[in-house]
């Protein structure tokens, strides 16, 4: 069960503004996984899930929060150089938090929803656009394999044109950097930390196997919300 704990910290900033404003500043927290660390075995091993969630995702959250606190202060001080300088840390760590939060929901143990094909409306959209689910999977895997360095491969929905597309983003860039109308349905992390301990240099095996634990129900819900 996914429980997002969001703590609200009120930071009273010592003020310029005559109104005596108190700013509400929400920091972000690491979301719980909707399943146990071992639940995606043998597709994704326990050790990877633990490191990925408790170390990598946690560190994005921590650094994101730090950058936001510094941004808040810089905004108050009207310190433009610092405001601008913080953008890359915000993009990287904030993007990491966004992407991984989606990723945990994209996955589900095989005995629950993992691997079950998408429901009718998304399923038929996929068939219409790609011919078949298999064809889509081939395309996603090809794009993921071809991505050089670190990044993500996405099944995206353009909510304005009501069209699906396969996209890639570099590093921790969220999908929206490829197009403001793009909504992520499925994202697959192809950073080496996502698979290296188990699959080593054979990224293609990771991509082949991950579909066994992909949670199409979640993707379908997002799709139906945007394309009722």
């Amino acid at each position: 069960m996914a429980l997002r704990r969001v703590s609200k910290k009120s930071i009273e900033l010592g003020l310029w503004h005559s109104h005596g404003l108190v700013r509400e500043f929400s920091t972000f927290s690491l979301p719980n996984l909707p399943y146990d660390y071992w639940a995606l075995e043998p597709v994704i091993m326990t050790e990877i899930m633990k490191l990925h969630h408790q170390q990598h995702h946690q560190s994005y959250v921590t650094n994101y929060n730090n950058a936001l606190v510094r941004l808040e202060h810089a905004l108050t001080m009207a310190d433009s150089p610092t405001i601008v300088r913080l953008q890359s840390a915000i993009k990287f760590n904030g993007g990491g938090h966004i992407n991984h939060s989606i990723f945990w929901k994209n996955l589900s143990p095989v005995k629950e929803l993992g691997g079950e094909p998408p429901k009718p409306s998304l399923g038929s959209a996929i068939d219409r656009q790609y011919g078949s689910l298999d064809a889509l999977i081939q395309k996603v895997n090809a794009e993921g394999a071809a991505l050089q360095g670190s990044g993500w491969v996405w099944l995206a929905l353009d909510k304005e044109r009501k069209q699906l597309s396969v996209e890639t983003t570099a590093d921790q860039d969220p999908l929206v950097t490829e197009g403001s109308a793009l909504v992520p349905l499925i994202g697959i992390d192809v950073w080496e930390h996502a698979y290296y301990l188990q699959y080593r240099d054979v990224k293609s095996n990771y991509l082949k196997n991950i579909w066994k634990v992909i949670n199409w129900k979640y993707a379908s819900e997002i799709y139906e919300k945007e394309c009722p």
């Binding site: 490191l51 050089q148 360095g149 950073w191 930390h193 290296y196 301990l197």
Partner: protein, 315 residues
Amino acid sequence: MAIPVAFSASSSPTCTVLPRQGLPGILGSPRPLQWTKKEVCTLLYRRCRRKIGFMVTAKFDLKPPPYALNSLEPHMSQETLEYHWGKHHRGYVENLNKQIVGTELDGMSLEDIIIVSYNKGDLLPTFNNAGQIWNHNFFWESMKPGGGGKPDGDLLKLIERDFGSFEKFVEEFKSAAATQFGSGWAWLAYKANRLEVGNAVNPRPSDEDKKLVIVKSPNAVNPLVWDYSPLLTIDVWEHAYYLDFQNRRPDYISIFIEKLVSWDAVSSRLEIAKARAAEREREEERKKKEEDDKMADGETAEMYVDNETDDSEVE
């Protein structure tokens, strides 16, 4: 997989003919190598065929590190070397060879392929493989069993001049390596006669312009594309450290500096870089003098001819 034997550095080489990759451009440290008779014959045969204009595929070879794959233990495991060199590095070599066959890149040196494929930032498909081959060759040679410690001589002097102290240099290098977001590399490089902007040549070069810099680069990019001379590198792609350190990149970086760096290699690269910079300076001075001489000869023809009419607005 057979563990390659470390090359002997003692006896004189049996031949002076080196494969394109055996001498990694003028920037690599010259290593005395002992070639077998068979290797020499293969090389001479290949060169001969190329000269006569036969249809030869000029393939790159996977160069082994100058030490056995288990000799960096416990700081960098044999397993890491087996995958990192045996799979990743090998993959780049095989893929580049496939990509260049029959193209105009076939037969070019690795450095030239890198510069051409960099294409001023609009990367061509061969860039990733070519860059990564060069980077990994350079990386293996940046380390040695029993490495670490401190540099000495000219290198230490320059480090102290340009960073304040060796400790400050280490701090800055570690920070660069830790903050390269995503995959990439951190470098110590020698920068000479270049202005800060756009690789322009400094019209008034001085010794102060020649300095050591720390830079970081994403994915396969390396300082050759900025016309710097690389001296030292650390690979911060996750595959370089994940088996040994998992997410703990800062620990990997510390171990690299404390236990693995070959300061000898860095020093000899610095000497080559300084010599290269001096040679270029002489070349640029010579060119400038030639141009000045040409200008002086054609001066009367080039001169601005005064207009007869009075353009002055003053009445």
